[in-house]
């Protein structure tokens, strides 16, 4: 092989290498700034989530009620308990916020208050006290995933909407999870219920990943509760 041939082949190799390198991305555009724009990672929809997953806790629209206040304080915790009560057929919890209003009990919830008012409302109605399991300050989704695997509905704190509800503001709120599995979860927010004509069944559920749940909605960990009564029966099949 002559020197010229060697040189030509070397140049050819260099040209091929340069061509391959040119396939690499080269970003010259301006990067978005830090202006506040809503995170659009999560999505609001109906009972079918990303990838076609079907929601686990499809609470009928007529049983979804909006949050109210009692003595000027919100009852999101107790409305969430009301929803879980309907899901798991716990009559003691039906209309929890309305019972608080009727008994002049102020809103505003925390773990021991949820326990004590659960006992009080059940005793008031002459019904068994449902067993309540709670976790506070949790930073992994295992508790929620296990509860939903067993067919139960959870109550969980929520401090910001990943899809941009509430004008992207930070809030103090408790909602239900209607779905929780390895991929993510779906929130049933008692400020956005299917029975509200302005929301409807196709814009009820906020589907999000666990990353969004922890980094946006619960950056300091979450408080969650689940009642131990059995889940509802599934639709019958042969």
């Amino acid at each position: 092989m002559t020197r010229n041939t060697i040189a030509r082949k070397a140049l050819l190799c260099l040209a091929v290498a340069c061509g391959l390198l040119s396939l690499r991305g080269h970003d010259t555009g301006p990067f978005p700034g830090d202006e506040a724009c809503p995170s659009l990672g999560a999505s609001v929809g109906g009972t079918t989530g990303p990838g076609g997953v079907q929601i686990q806790c499809d609470l009928p629209a007529e049983l979804q009620k909006k949050n109210i206040s009692s003595n000027g304080l919100g009852c999101c915790v107790f409305r969430s308990a009301d929803h879980a009560g309907h899901w798991q057929n716990i009559p003691a919890l039906y209309g929890f916020p309305e019972w608080m209003v009727a008994n002049k009990i102020s809103g505003g919830g925390y773990p021991s208050k949820l326990q004590s008012l659960t006992e009080k409302i059940a005793a008031d109605r002459g019904l068994p006290v449902p067993l309540l399991v709670q976790v506070e300050g949790a930073k992994d989704p295992e508790f929620l995933k296990l509860a939903h695997k067993t067919g139960r509905m959870t109550l969980v704190t929520y401090s910001k909407s990943p899809s941009g509800r509430y004008a992207n503001s930070r809030i103090a709120h408790m909602i239900n999870l209607a779905h929780a599995d390895g991929q993510g979860c779906a929130a049933l927010d008692n400020n956005f219920v299917a029975s509200d004509p302005s929301v409807g069944p196709e814009k009820t559920y906020e589907w999000m990943t666990w990353d969004e749940f922890f980094k946006i909605s619960n950056p300091d960990g979450y408080w969650a509760a689940v009642y131990m009564d059995p889940p509802p029966p599934p639709p019958p099949v042969n």
Binding site: G41, L132, E136, G137, P233
Partner: protein, 305 residues
Amino acid sequence: MRIRWCILAGLFLLAAAGAVAAQFGPPPFAPQPIYAPGTGPFVGQTAFHGDGRNLGWTWREYRSQKGTWYLHDAFGRRVGAFRETSFEYWPLDARTNRYGVACRPPVDLPKLNHLPVVPAKPTMNFGLDLSKIGQHGTRYFVGGRVVDRKTAFEAVEKGQLTDDSGKLRVTVFGSPARTKPVADAIRADSVGAKVHVQQYQPTDPMVKGLGFATPTDPTLYVQEPAGKVRHRSRTAPTPAEAVGAVRKANDGYRPAADPNLSAGGGLNLSGLAAFLGSIPGYAYALAGGLIVLILFPPNVKAVRP
């Protein structure tokens, strides 16, 4: 011939050194260049698609721009960027080389090292007493009693919030006066601890329209967790008859034997495809060159002394 081999070896060494430098940066003893944000050495993570597939896409956090992750496809082309502080992903438009509107990324987010900065005080409170939440770290409660995590999860596993998803579902439909004795009898029996028992009026919103046939008051259903009916009473059962039917349905039921129609059959090559996709492009180029040299070696002529 020696010159030819030296040139070829030199070219391969240059390519390998360039790939190493691109990944890890120049050696410590060399002058350290200053890189523009989004260029230079980076830490990479595999970017998995939502269904767990590895198609060779990667997230890159450059040392020159920490807190921002660039998404690159299998060919190394940049396709988007994710910023940790605002937790937003922007796609890169290849035609205009500009970033578009924030949206859901096509792959799972990278494992983050830095938490996003969030304001401490909420602007709206819908019913939480924040002064009494989250003040004690992680705590577990069972029935209002504070327990440790081990106890809570043991309670979870042993029949309270247990993984009882495999239990049969027993439902008694009818009027409250007629369903209560039947449901109570089942719960009181030893089989009651092995099944979930519920009772509903047929018009309850939770069950109406789902397809349950309830011609008698009460009507007893026993179902597997996925819904398959193992027993439906044709006449109104007495409590004792209901208990007998539930026991019979529960005997011999093994949740582990349930068919799983979602499990795939045949040879699973997804793992092999994922492995091949994770190998970077320049490695294929180097391997291809070596194969060419092996298959088509240069002519070696004997040199006469």
